[in-house]
């Protein structure tokens, strides 16, 4: 295994009295794609939201155990700095409707009041859009509203927005579930390209997608981690019966 970026140790998560995650142990390796799979409601979204502390937006939550980011306990870090290093892309594209494409990409800096020279802004926007494979499509209309783009383009814009902050980790929560097959292909190619520079955690319902682009797979079932290992191995010889049933489509 390669150098680890994130370690989840004996991690429990509660919303109110409900235990959502139970004793999760997971390690995410640097510059690899880790897929998180499991039936609906098993806690995939909850897990990745805990990784950048977005779960704190929900009232009455409690965590036990640890998540370490480069060895540091994230719950002792400033959540604002943590979120700049661990970017997140949501299931539904959510560009800022009042902003142009350009402003959307640079939003992480502008909203944080970080002043940049015009030349630096242009460079960051161009680089981020190129990394998100959107540059060619929008370079002539950077000052149009981001919401005029197609769904797939909007999702890539959201990826560019997250990449502009130069994160170490990118959390993707079913980034293609609202997209058509062509746009999905596009995003998948993009993820493979992106792992050259960032560590990617990908929540997906799409078994074929996980097998195509992930290096590691974690299988969650009702808040528990059932199986975790290299994607190739898990998809050929799953250890647990439930994993096998899920992968062959018996439930999910």
């Amino acid at each position: 295994m390669k150098e680890s970026v994130l370690e989840v140790k004996e991690f429990d998560f509660y919303i109110g009295k409900n235990q959502i995650l139970n004793k999760i142990d997971l390690t995410f390796s640097r510059k690899q794609v880790t897929a998180i799979m499991g039936p609906s409601g098993c806690g995939k979204t909850s897990l990745i939201r805990c990784i950048n502390r977005m779960h704190e937006l929900v009232q009455d939550t409690k965590v036990e155990g640890q998540i370490r980011f480069y060895g540091k306990n994230i719950f002792e870090m400033d959540p604002i700095l943590l979120r700049r290093k661990i970017g997140m892309v949501f299931q539904r594209p959510n560009p800022f409707p009042t902003m142009s494409i350009f402003e959307n990409v640079i939003a992480g800096y502008r909203l944080n009041g970080i002043k940049l020279k015009k030349a630096d802004q242009n460079r960051i926007v161009e680089e981020s859009l190129k990394k998100a494979a959107l540059w060619e499509e929008v370079k002539d209309g950077l000052h149009r509203k981001g919401t005029f783009l197609s769904g797939g383009q909007q999702q890539r814009l959201c990826i560019a927005r997250a990449l502009a902050m130069n994160p170490r980790v990118l959390l993707l929560d079913e980034p293609t579930s609202a997209l058509d097959p062509k746009a999905t292909d596009h995003i998948e190619e993009l993820i493979v390209e992106l792992k050259k520079t960032v560590t990617i955690v990908l929540v997906t319902h799409n078994i074929a997608q996980a097998s195509r682009i992930s290096d590691f797979t974690a299988f969650l079932y009702i808040g528990e981690l059932i199986e975790y290992g290299s994607t190739q191995k898990m998809f050929t010889v799953p250890e647990d019966k439930r994993t096998e049933e899920y992968l062959t489509g018996k439930f999910g």
């Binding site: 950048n52 977005m54 937006l57 604002i80 700095l81 943590l82 979120r83 700049r84 970017g87 997140m88 949501f90 539904r92 959510n94 560009p95 800022f96 409707p97 009042t98 939003a107 992480g108 502008r110 909203l111 944080n112 009041g113 959201c158 927005r161 997250a162 902050m165």
Partner: protein
């Protein structure tokens, strides 16, 4: 059998549509009558001199309503200055903390305030501001009108913010943007047109108020920019002129009414323009 049932339904449908149409038309008729009446009576008074001159003493010809126009703008501007920041902040708080005890309490207060007769607001402001100061003032008038604008602004801010999708807030927070910046730079700008509509509605609501000004801004035959001194306003001037025994002053009252209605109409049109965007 079936056919006739459908036939009956169609007839009922037509009848219903007809009734709705008739009522809407009935509503428009008095409205048009009022407007045309004011236009007829007031249009002849409106001359450049009428809009730019101070009132003339009784018996003297000429004179205008310049002080009242400036006064209304002054009062409404001051009322907005006082009520917009407070109203927006309250609306933001209520939308962000829907279930808190304070929100619940404020919501009730807003409803009560909205139903409070304007004359009561006037008397209260008289007791709280005019009496301690010892004289009428623009400030007191602005406060009275500001109190009347508050519920409109709070409600429209809260309701507009409630329509902003949660995902926008998440998008911003996930970029490491602090909470207060997320509210000020993402949520409020997204709700801008709705909030502005609320402000304009509030202004339109108070621009024609007479009762609260009777005890506060009082009136003034001259122009006055001192916030601590009394000042004229369109509704008050209409009231004084219309209740006077002089025929010429009645015409002035009509002219001033037309100006006031024109102002409110313009605001409504701007509001429509803003919401369409």
């Amino acid at each position: 059998m079936k056919k006739s049932a459908i036939g009956a339904r169609i007839i009922k449908d037509r009848l219903f549509t007809g009734i709705i149409f008739a009522f809407s038309a009935a509503l428009i008729i008095p409205l048009i009558m009022i407007l045309s009446h004011i236009l007829q009576k007031g249009a002849s008074s409106i001359t450049p001199a009428f809009l730019t001159h101070l009132p003339a003493p009784v018996g003297e010809a000429g004179g205008g309503i310049y002080n009242a126009i400036i006064g209304t703008l002054y009062l409404v501007g001051l009322a907005s200055l006082l009520s917009v920041p407070i109203g927006m902040a309250t609306g933001i708080y209520m939308s962000e903390n829907k279930n808190s005890k304070l929100s619940y309490f404020v919501r009730i207060c807003v409803e009560v305030l909205q139903g409070t007769p304007s004359i009561v607001v006037g008397i209260i402001t008289y007791l709280w501001v005019v009496k301690p100061m010892g004289h009428f003032s623009v400030l007191a008038g602005g406060i009275a009108l500001g109190i009347m604008m508050l519920p409109v602004i709070i409600r429209s801010t809260e309701e507009t913010l409630n329509l902003i999708p949660h995902s926008l807030k998440e998008a911003s927070l996930a970029l490491g943007v602090p909470y207060y910046r997320t509210i000020l730079k993402v949520i409020v700008p997204s709700a801008f047109s709705g909030i502005l509509t609320g402000i304009l509605l509030g202004v339109a609501r108070v621009a024609g108020e007479t009762a609260p000004l009777l005890f506060t801004a009082f009136g003034n035959p001259f122009i006055n920019y001192n916030i601590l001194k009394p000042m004229a306003s369109l509704p008050l001037m209409i009231f004084t002129y219309a209740t006077s025994p002089y025929e010429e002053w009645h015409n002035y009252a009509w002219g001033a009414s037309l100006v006031l209605i024109g102002f409110i109409l313009a605001l409504s049109l701007i509001t429509k323009g803003v919401t369409r965007r």
